[in-house]
């Protein structure tokens, strides 16, 4: 058996004989993963947005002959934000203090303009400059889109009334002014009483063409308002807790936490126990010492990753969730877990060598792992700097690896890219750990 395998077996034996440590190492990252998931799920669902009504919008607004209950509509369309009514001053204060992430102002004259059904009134959106600004803008755009959808139906109906007037004639009103329209029907009746001739025939042809054209107006208006309709069949989809992304994050977070702490502690423990000097006497090279900690992280990471994937899969299957758990992809997932855990293990060995003492190494590992994980959770469009920093760390690449391995129809390109990243980062960390091992022997 090689020196690396002997040290790995020793470390696994030591770990097995420390049940309290093992339980804490397993439970702690899982609890952290759940908490992060809860916070992320809450944060992404309901940003608080101020609603400033400078027009004193009445409870019921009448547009094109239809009555709208304003609060009911707002409740229906604001599923992605929590709208809080407040004054303009209060909204400005809360926006500057960050208590609300945006303000939507209904300016004076809004309802009057809307009721004309002839011009588009404006809502005014103000956002902070924080990382959430772009996401809130998208959510408010979605809110306005939903409002527009409701109003479009009413406006189309109102416009069709005018089309019917043009077709059949009758009395109508616009902007409060009453008028009478002859209509195409009336025109045909008039033409029937006139002596036939070239001009009368030309007018009759126009009336026929206009009737055909106007008959299509209703469909055309609807198609113009909604070029693409989104249908959402009722289905038993995945809740966010069971989503592919959460599973990827959960496994990555747990494995990162465990691998870093374990490798850091195991490396520093060689010095605590005084064995590094004994090993250095030609028995084990510094490189082999690092490899043994990398292997320890990979082996324990795979065992833990498999456990989480199986538990997650059972929950998904019991819940009858659409798509189910991709059981056939679990072996592929575990390849990624081994790779990611090994890379994190190299980082752990580096920390252990720098700390030179197991307790310090464990504390250092906890201090390092949290920012590494949280940087990996920051979306690219939220904070570009954090995104690029996380690109140089293994966590974000592990998440992408796991997600692609489990759920992508053609994962190989993503897996290739992320493997290259992980190997590159791992190589650098391994080299640094190998150099730092001299500190353990000093």
């Amino acid at each position: 058996m090689s020196a690396v395998a002997l040290l790995l077996r020793k470390d696994l034996t030591v770990l097995r004989r420390s049940p309290l440590l093992l339980a804490a190492l397993l439970a702690y990252p899982i609890v952290i993963a759940l908490l992060v998931g809860l916070v992320a799920g809450y944060a992404s669902s309901k940003p608080r947005v101020a609603w400033v009504d400078e027009d004193n919008v009445p409870a019921v607004v009448q547009v094109a002959g239809h009555r709208f209950h304003v609060q009911t509509i707002i409740n229906e369309v604001s599923s992605n934000v929590t709208l809080v009514r407040m004054s303009a001053d209060e909204a400005a204060r809360e926006l500057s203090s960050g208590k609300v992430v945006a303000t939507i102002t209904v300016p004076s004259g809004f309802v009057g303009t809307l009721e004309t059904a002839a011009r588009s009134p404006s809502l005014v959106l103000r956002t902070g400059k924080g990382a959430l600004a772009s996401r809130v803008t998208q959510q408010v755009q979605a809110l306005v889109y939903q409002l527009n959808r409701q109003l479009q139906g009413v406006f189309i109906k109102a416009n069709l009334v005018f089309v019917q007037l043009l077709l059949h004639g009758g009395k109508g009103s616009f902007l409060g002014r009453q008028f009478t329209v002859l209509g195409l029907d009336g025109t045909e009746r008039l033409l029937a009483g006139m002596p036939p001739g070239k001009r009368v025939r030309a007018i009759r042809d126009f009336v026929r063409d206009a009737r055909i054209g106007l008959a299509q107006t209703g469909t055309a208006l609807k198609a113009t308002a909604h070029p693409i309709l989104l249908r959402q069949p009722k289905d038993k989809g995945r809740s966010w807790v069971l989503s592919a992304q959460v599973q990827s994050y959960g496994i990555a977070l747990t494995v990162t936490f465990l691998a870093l702490l374990l490798a850091a502690g195991a490396a520093a423990a060689e010095r605590d126990e005084g064995t590094v000097g004994r090993l250095r006497r030609g028995l084990v090279s510094f490189g082999q010492l690092v490899w043994s900690k990398v292997a320890l992280a990979a082996v324990v990471g795979v065992a833990l990753g498999a456990g989480i994937a199986v538990v997650f899969g059972i929950v998904v299957e019991l819940g009858g969730v659409t798509g189910g758990e991709p059981w056939g992809r679990i072996p592929l997932l575990l390849v990624g877990v081994a790779l990611a855990a090994a890379v994190v293990g190299a980082a752990g060995a580096l920390l252990g060598a720098l700390a030179r003492e197991a307790r310090t190494a464990s504390l250092l590992a906890v201090l390092v792992v949290l920012p590494v994980v949280f940087l990996g959770l920051v979306p690219r469009d939220a904070l570009a700097f954090a995104y690029w920093v996380s690109e140089a760390l293994p966590f974000a690449h592990a998440v992408r690896w796991f997600g692609a391995a489990l759920y992508d129809a053609s994962p190989w390109r993503t897996l290739g890219e992320q493997t290259a990243w992980l190997l590159g980062i791992g190589g650098v960390l391994w080299g640094l750990a190998r150099l730092s091992m001299r500190r353990l022997a000093a």
């Binding site: 002997l6 034996t13 420390s18 000097g277 004994r278 006497r281 028995l283 022997a441």
Partner: protein, 208 residues
């Protein structure tokens, strides 16, 4: 003519600006026992660790012409493994052909507990005996011992000197660090270290 088993030329060790060991020459011939004496921080442990290959010298060369066993001052073994498991692990790392038999032999020789109790739970004396036993796994011809009897009772100390004497009579050699001047009687030569420098080679000066 006696053969030199271990020779060091100008070996030194620095930690940043601190000189733990000034350039020092050292030689150990077969059948010989050398005592290193000096106060705490004199450089005894550093010299032995460099000779054993446990730490690198900042400068100088060590020429080892025989296998070396090293007994560090602080017992160096895995506290959560039993004495047997420690012996078997290091025997395998040393490349001993029958690691199980070698471990059993040393357990017997040093009266170490055979039960699977973690070695970290053993008495101080037992841990030190395990420390000595680990150094003998590869059956070395040269033994380097860093204050090997510091935490042993008289009976156990006697057993350590028996190991040293047996090695010498078999053509091996030993170098030991000690602060107990009575133990100098087990040595043929004495090297006195102070502030990282070799200051004397006279037994008489030591006693003075």
């Amino acid at each position: 003519m006696t053969q030199t088993l271990l020779r060091a030329t100008g070996v030194a060790r620095r930690y940043g600006d601190v000189e733990a060991l000034a350039p020092t020459d050292f030689e150990l011939a077969e059948g010989e026992a050398v005592a290193l004496v000096g106060p705490n921080g004199a450089g005894k442990s550093t010299l032995l660790a460099i000779l054993a290959g446990a730490i690198e010298a900042s400068e100088g060369v060590v020429d080892a012409r025989a296998s070396i066993g090293w007994v560090p001052q602080r017992p160096a073994h895995y506290a959560r493994l039993s004495a047997r498991e420690n012996l078997e692990l290091f025997a395998r790392l040393e490349g001993v052909r029958d690691a199980t038999a070698a471990a059993a032999r040393l357990l017997e020789r040093f009266s170490l507990p055979r039960e699977e109790r973690p070695s970290g739970e053993l008495s101080v004396g037992n841990r030190q005996r395990l420390n000595v036993a680990l150094s003998l796994l590869a059956e070395p011809r040269v033994l380097l011992l860093d204050e090997p009897t510091a935490s042993l009772d008289p009976g156990q100390r006697r057993r350590v000197w028996e190991v040293v004497n047996a090695l010498r009579s078999d053509g091996g050699a030993a170098c030991f660090a000690t602060q107990n001047l009575e133990e100098v009687e087990h040595a043929d030569r004495v090297l006195v270290l102070e502030d990282g420098r070799l200051v004397s080679t006279s037994v008489e000066e030591v006693f003075e």
